[in-house]
């Protein structure tokens, strides 16, 4: 009996130690979360602009948000490990552009925090920043997002194709084991296969367009974006069918 008490005592001490440390981890996590671009964007609509100082603070928020977006794009570009040839050059070019943007934004940030502003001078700076964001930055971001999305789409297609293969194999197994009649499920499988084939062709077109572009930026931005969206949409339709098949299988197996 005394031994049991001793075991419970040691366990309680260990548990108390672990539980004391948990809040520190949770706090650190929530602080890190507060620094993501989505949360900053959520707060932007709440900003009240009345005085010169409010305008200064608003511009600083826009700069911080833009820096977070740049950081995010850099991370995504650097995450691609097996880029070759032209794609590698494109990524380098994008990263250089983003680095220049970071320098530009930091110089404005320094100016904002170290100088006195009148209404006229702060609005002049705001106009300059607005023009830069809408003409220069927005176009680059669009190009980079399309580039990232094209490569991510390739990875998504691989996963979706693997899923189609597994489902097809399982249906054969069900049929062989006479577990269920797969006749009603096969049309879903054929249709999903067609969707994924179409998605693959659209992605191939996107990659060709990316590789034949004469400048590091993507010339036919709209077309690339359209192709990626169409491709992802086909994958989406295939997964819709997978879910329908899953529900049908459960019904047939009476689960």
């Amino acid at each position: 009996m005394r031994n049991h008490y001793k075991v419970i005592k040691i366990a309680a001490t260990f548990l108390a130690g672990v539980l004391t440390l948990v809040p520190f981890f949770i706090n650190a996590q929530s602080l890190a979360k507060a620094e993501n671009k989505e949360e900053v964007l959520e707060g932007i609509s709440e900003i009240k602009v009345e005085t010169v100082d409010d305008r200064k603070a608003a511009l600083l928020t826009i700069i911080d948000l833009t820096l977070l977006e740049i950081q995010d794009l850099e991370n995504k570009l650097n995450a691609f490990k097996d880029l070759e040839g032209r794609y590698l050059d494109m990524r380098s070019s994008f990263l250089t552009q983003l680095e220049n943007y970071t320098d530009y934004l930091n110089s404005i940030k320094e100016l904002l925090t170290s100088s006195e502003f009148t209404l006229e001078s702060i609005q002049k700076l705001a106009q300059e920043l607005k023009d830069w964001r809408e003409n220069e930055y927005a176009a680059t971001v669009k190009n980079i997002v399309n580039f990232i999305l094209s490569f991510q789409n390739q990875a998504i297609l691989k996963i979706a194709d693997a899923r189609l293969g597994k489902i097809s194999l399982d249906l054969k197994r069900f049929k062989a084991a006479k577990l269920l009649e797969t006749g009603t499920l096969e049309p879903f499988l054929v249709k999903a296969g067609e969707n994924l084939k179409k998605a693959g062709l659209l992605n191939d077109e996107t990659m060709i367009l990316l590789s034949t572009s004469t400048t590091p930026t993507i010339d036919s931005v709209k077309t690339v974006q359209e192709l990626v969206w169409q491709s992802l949409n086909e994958v989406k339709l295939a997964y819709k069918l997978f879910f329908q098949m899953s529900a049908e299988v459960k019904k047939l197996l009476k689960l």
Binding site: F14, I44, V49, V145, I167
Partner: protein, 130 residues
Amino acid sequence: MNEDILIKILKIFRKIQPAKEYTLHSRREILATPKISHGISTIKMGLLDSFKFSGALMLASLVIFVIFGGLAFFNIKNLSPIMLTSFNDSKLMAESGDFEIKLQEVEYYERSAQEVATLFDEVLKDEKSL
């Protein structure tokens, strides 16, 4: 001559016996001494001692596992045979969720451009209440 004397002395010694009280006292003392045993029960006790600390750690780990949602692991639904097939809903959900996130990313940049443009307009508005 000397030998005869020695034999006589030895014969007397043979008759020497301890006092009765001493014999009883010694016997009691010997019987009261705890037994030193090297049997199975000793090994058992040793093993029990060595498992005491690891037992405590296991108990604490189990409690932590339960506190942090470990019980969900034993959800009966996870034992369904469908979970072993390619129709596993949670896997399908995770995969489809992945491309939904990618699409949301494009939408984010469009929303960001709009929200930031609205804030710029506020900054560029003529000041009234300064």
